[in-house]
């Protein structure tokens, strides 16, 4: 479904990524894990068109999309839920969600999607007219995730959905991710520092370090890998 080949990208004079390659299958949940500064976010930002790769290429459903503008990428169903959420703080939850569906040609799909995401996060129903900036961190993450879903994604990319959240909220977010992946069959690409959590819901995983992929394989296998255990799981 998504195929990234030999991707090199960076900011200013420095390259953050050097030759990253990986792929995801339709309906699969793939985790991209690694420590702080490994380059995981840069991978997602390059795929989403927020930064232009220096070299390498990105294919989505057989089409090359390297260097496309971000709005074109959203339109073909490749949607990012960004790190730090990037909500519109002075707008209401409803407005944030409606903006999530900006790419939809058919306006008629919005009510249907809205009902779906509010069913996933009943809490947002109570907060629907509140401005996003006044919500708690966990609720804001829910809005970010719901906003991403409003774009009717084929592949949803999540950048650190558990970062800075209380354990109870993390569990709630992951319950929804599991439902999306298993029940709805949505393809997920999950970037996490929370390695155990990410590998527990994904079928395959890639481990990044210093802008490279150093390990890959079935998630269950990676969880048993001595190097992973030592570096990320503290065992």
């Amino acid at each position: 479904m998504l195929k990234v080949t030999d991707l090199t990208a960076g900011y200013g004079k420095t390259n953050v990524l050097t030759g990253v390659s990986f792929d995801t299958e339709d309906g699969e949940c793939v985790a991209l894990v690694g420590g702080n500064g490994a380059g995981k976010s840069t991978v997602l930002r390059s795929i989403a068109g927020l930064i232009t790769p220096r070299s390498g290429n990105v294919h989505f459903e057989g089409r090359e999309i390297t260097g496309w503008a971000s709005h074109e990428i959203v339109k073909i169903g490749l949607v990012l839920v960004p790190e730090g959420r990037l909500l519109f703080p002075q707008m209401t939850v409803w407005e944030n969600l409606v903006l999530g569906g900006s790419n939809l040609r058919a306006h008629s799909r919005k009510p249907e999607l809205l009902a779906f995401v509010l069913d996933l996060f009943p809490r947002l129903k109570e907060r629907i007219h509140q401005t996003a900036g006044t919500l708690s961190g966990g609720e804001q993450q829910m809005v970010a995730l719901a906003r991403g879903l409003m774009a009717a994604p084929k592949l949803l990319m999540l950048d650190e959905p558990s970062l800075g959240l209380a354990p109870l909220v993390v569990r709630e977010i992951y319950r929804v991710l599991r439902r999306l992946s298993l029940t709805e069959g949505l393809s997920l690409l999950l970037v996490e520092q929370n390695v155990r959590m990410a590998l527990s819901i994904s079928s395959r995983g890639y481990v990044m370090e210093n802008g490279k992929i150093i390990l890959s394989g079935k998630s269950a296998m990676l969880l048993d890998e001595p190097a992973v255990k030592k570096a990320y799981l503290g065992i």
């Binding site: 989403a48 068109g49 927020l50 503008a69 971000s70 709005h71 990428i73 959203v74 339109k75 949607v79 990012l80 839920v81 960004p82 959420r85 990037l86 909500l87 519109f88 703080p89 002075q90 707008m91 407005e95 409606v98 903006l99 999530g100 900006s102 790419n103 906003r147 991403g148 774009a151």
Partner: protein
């Protein structure tokens, strides 16, 4: 307070509000462009001057009244704004602020000297159907050009705020002003919205300029002064705050009107600027600006 004094005061207030709506719209152009591009357009007022001289041209050549030509000028200014954005502003979107100042000041020189070349340095005014007319409402006597500017300007402002609040375009504009990257992530075509807003802001000047014709004596060099005043409205309202900008326009209009009434002369003209300084002393982020 005697009754006549009361009437004079109310009349000054009403006049201030009527002119203030125009000031608000001038500032709103700057606010809207800044909100979604983070660019300051120093040639803002010169585009307004240009609009007024286009009115002069239309009057000289075709005998058109500025009120009749206002719609035409606006319709002309929208695509012109689009061109200016696509050819010039787009290139400095990510450039250093000094580049932006250089570009827009360059436009100031081009427009001002172009007007000088075409129309000479003389002070000009254009007669309009409303110039000398007055409207009596109860004990109040209102000048017709001010009333017309107020009615059209208010309708325009309401339409703008309605668009911002309730339409897809309006939501997109607010989203971009609050978080550009977030706007990209949800799939908004940021550059297209920037183009639309810039064209709209220039088009707005194309409409506001002609409405001000009966109130202002024109010179080719008035643009920079209009820009300065627009910037004051923009800052006083709270940088990037749409409603604050409109409010600041009203406050400045009233301050000007009361300054003329109670102080008069050159000192009276200083009153709006004094009010601006006072507002910033009390509320450094502007009338409705967010606290830092």
């Amino acid at each position: 307070m005697a009754l006549t004094e009361m009437v004079v005061l109310i009349q000054a207030l009403v006049q201030g509000i009527m002119v203030g709506v125009m000031y608000g719209l001038m500032g709103l152009g700057i606010t809207m462009v800044f909100a979604i591009t983070r660019l300051l357009n120093f040639s803002h007022g010169d585009f307004m001057a240009l609009a007024m001289y286009v009115c002069l041209l239309l009057y000289q050549q075709l005998g058109l009244d500025p009120y009749a030509s206002s719609g035409l000028v606006a319709a002309l200014f929208v695509p012109m704004g689009g061109l200016v954005f696509a050819l010039l502003f787009k290139r400095v979107l990510r450039a250093h602020i000094l580049m932006v100042i250089q570009l827009t000041l360059g436009l100031v020189f081009i427009i001002e000297n172009g007007l000088l070349l075409g129309f000479g340095a003389d002070y000009r005014s254009i007669p309009t159907v409303l110039t000398a007319k007055k409207v009596h409402i109860g004990p109040l006597i209102l000048r017709a050009p001010h009333l017309a500017a107020f009615v059209i300007g208010s309708a325009l402002a309401l339409a703008l705020f309605w668009t911002l609040k309730y339409t897809d375009l309006g939501r997109a504009i607010r989203a971009i002003s609050q978080n550009v990257e977030g706007a990209k992530v949800v799939g908004l075509n940021v550059e297209r919205v920037q183009l639309i807003v810039f064209s709209g802001a220039i088009g707005l000047l194309g409409l506001v300029g002609p409405l001000l014709v009966p109130m202002i004596t024109m010179t080719p060099f008035m643009g920079l002064h209009l820009t300065l005043f627009s910037f004051i409205v923009f800052v006083m309202g709270g940088v990037g705050n749409f409603l604050g900008t409109m409010l600041a326009g009203l406050v400045l209009g009233i301050a000007e009107s009361l300054g003329q009434l109670y102080i008069g002369g050159n000192l009276g003209l200083v009153v709006p600027y004094g009010v601006f300084v006072l507002v910033l002393l009390v509320r450094p982020a502007g009338l409705l600006g967010a606290k830092q």
